[in-house]
Amino acid sequence: MTMQTEPYVLNVGPVHPSTHGVFRMRVTLDGEVVINVEPVFGYLHRGIEKLAEERTYTGIIPLTDRLDYVASMTNNAAYCMAVEKLAGIEVPERGEYIRVIMSELQRVAAHFISMGSFLNDCGSYFTPFLLMFRERERITDLFEMVCGQRLMYNYIRPGGVSQDLPDEFVPALKTMLEQMKKYIEEHEKLLKENEILIARSRGVGILPKEMAINIGASGPTLRSAGVKWDIRKADPYSVYNRFEFDIPVGEQGDCYDRYRVRMEEVKQSFRIVEQAVKQLPGGPVRAEVPQLIRPPKGETYAHIEAPTGELGFYLVSDGGIAPYRCHIRAPSLMNLTVLRDMMIGWKLQDLIVIFGSFAITMGEVDR
């Protein structure tokens, strides 16, 4: 005797405890198995690209802070690199080293949030998430010492950084690195070989290598599929060619691999910060830049390795004080293209784990 069944549409809505931000999926289910997924976004579309056409080049920096709101330093750095390429400004050495230190600390802070919410989705109700927030507070204390803000820094400017490091920064940084190493050991002991984590995320949501390149993925999502492509090594910018670091690469491309790639990247970031602090030179931190920058006519594209992937800015200038067009290449939007193909055939609870392992920020997807 056969039972008559019918597929139904479930709305995993914009306000949901497991979607990271306002993201909505219309899921067609047959029992518990997913047949079709349609992502809907745009609930945080604030029109940043259009607002940028009305502001001066330095006045756009607070707008770029709010793109990927957990990693503001790297957003500022990408935009300032694009402006410097257009206007032909050269950054002094000390400014470059400070930018590298800030970007790598920001990468650690952003990865802590992504890993914490991924572990939250896998079932450990809030404990690793809050522990990672406690460690992240150490990093935001350092940022507050430098520029006064906890979340939206507005610190990296065209030509360097806005002000020099205070005297107590380097000793505080060294103490923080010691404490962090102890925390990461404790974290790995508890969670690296954890049965429940492996059962929920090993073999789930596999992203094959050719598909990852075809959809334009970048960052940990691309590297977990086995492709060794990191902009800091493939197209070095700033002073990254003076440091020694490795690029962690995954094997299978499943959710567990994405979590491990992020953890290894945190350790490599600490290596870079230690080397940069040793080599830190003296001198000015910002080049002599006029109040209102007027780059010559032209267009350019500059990209960096942000925590979520390749963040790029395409700037078109017509010689005035505001850009003619500012386009933002958002890594989270490109990584999301493959969501539907990766989720079909899995069950509803795997959907949440797969979506959590992408670690997207809605401010970047919608802009």
Binding site: P17, G42, L63, R134
Partner: protein
């Protein structure tokens, strides 16, 4: 009694158009901000001062010390709210221990993030689903007045176009200590409320 139900909509295109129509209707209906819900405080103070019975005082003490916030996290201020819930700036010492996912079990809606016209009908629906008594704290510059994005084509200039707001908290983003101050202000307001004899 005849109950009429709307027809079920299944295709993606029709769903999109139906939702888009809801957004346009809400946009046309929200051209002026909601009036302040605090008017009764001013009128009472003009008479002889607020006079509460002991039962009222006990009920208000219970309500103000056990507020459950609802989840409403569009954007960046959400991370300051989560940091306020974290181990450093502990919100559970003020009674706000748990974050309730279901709006039916929540009293307080802390709106942490920019509101866009596309998201507005969903926020209105969550506010309507919360049970009385309920309060709203508008957190951040974007919630108070649209903030840095005010002149954009998709941004609502402040939450008070859609729902009535009790406490306004400026900052971009406001520090967790500022959020705690706003919650203390709200608790002071709840304690002045006369429950018995009020409709």
């Amino acid at each position: 009694m005849e109950v009429t139900r709307p027809p079920f909509i299944y295709s993606d295109k029709e769903l999109d158009e139906h939702e888009g129509q809801v957004v346009e209707n809400l946009k046309a209906a929200s051209q002026t901000p909601f009036p302040d819900p605090d008017k009764w405080l001013v009128e009472e103070a003009e008479k002889q001062g607020v006079f509460l019975t002991t039962v009222d005082a006990v009920i208000n003490w219970g309500r103000s010390n056990s507020i459950y916030p609802a989840i409403c996290f569009p954007a960046c201020c959400a991370f300051e709210f989560i940091a306020a819930m974290g181990p450093r700036f502990d919100l559970s010492r003020f009674g706000m221990e748990i974050l309730r996912a279901s709006p039916r079990q929540a009293d307080l809606m802390i709106t942490a993030g920019t509101l866009t016209w596309k998201m507005a009908p969903n926020i209105r629906r969550i506010y309507d689903q919360m049970a009385e008594p309920k309060w709203v704290i508008a957190m951040g510059a974007c919630a108070v007045s649209g903030g840095i994005f005010r002149s954009s084509y998709n941004v609502v200039p402040g939450y008070n176009r859609i729902i009535p707001v009790d406490v306004y908290l400026p900052g971009c983003p406001p520090r967790p200590e500022a959020l705690i101050y706003a919650i203390r202000m709200l608790q002071a307001k709840i304690r002045k409320r006369a429950n018995i004899g009020k409709d």
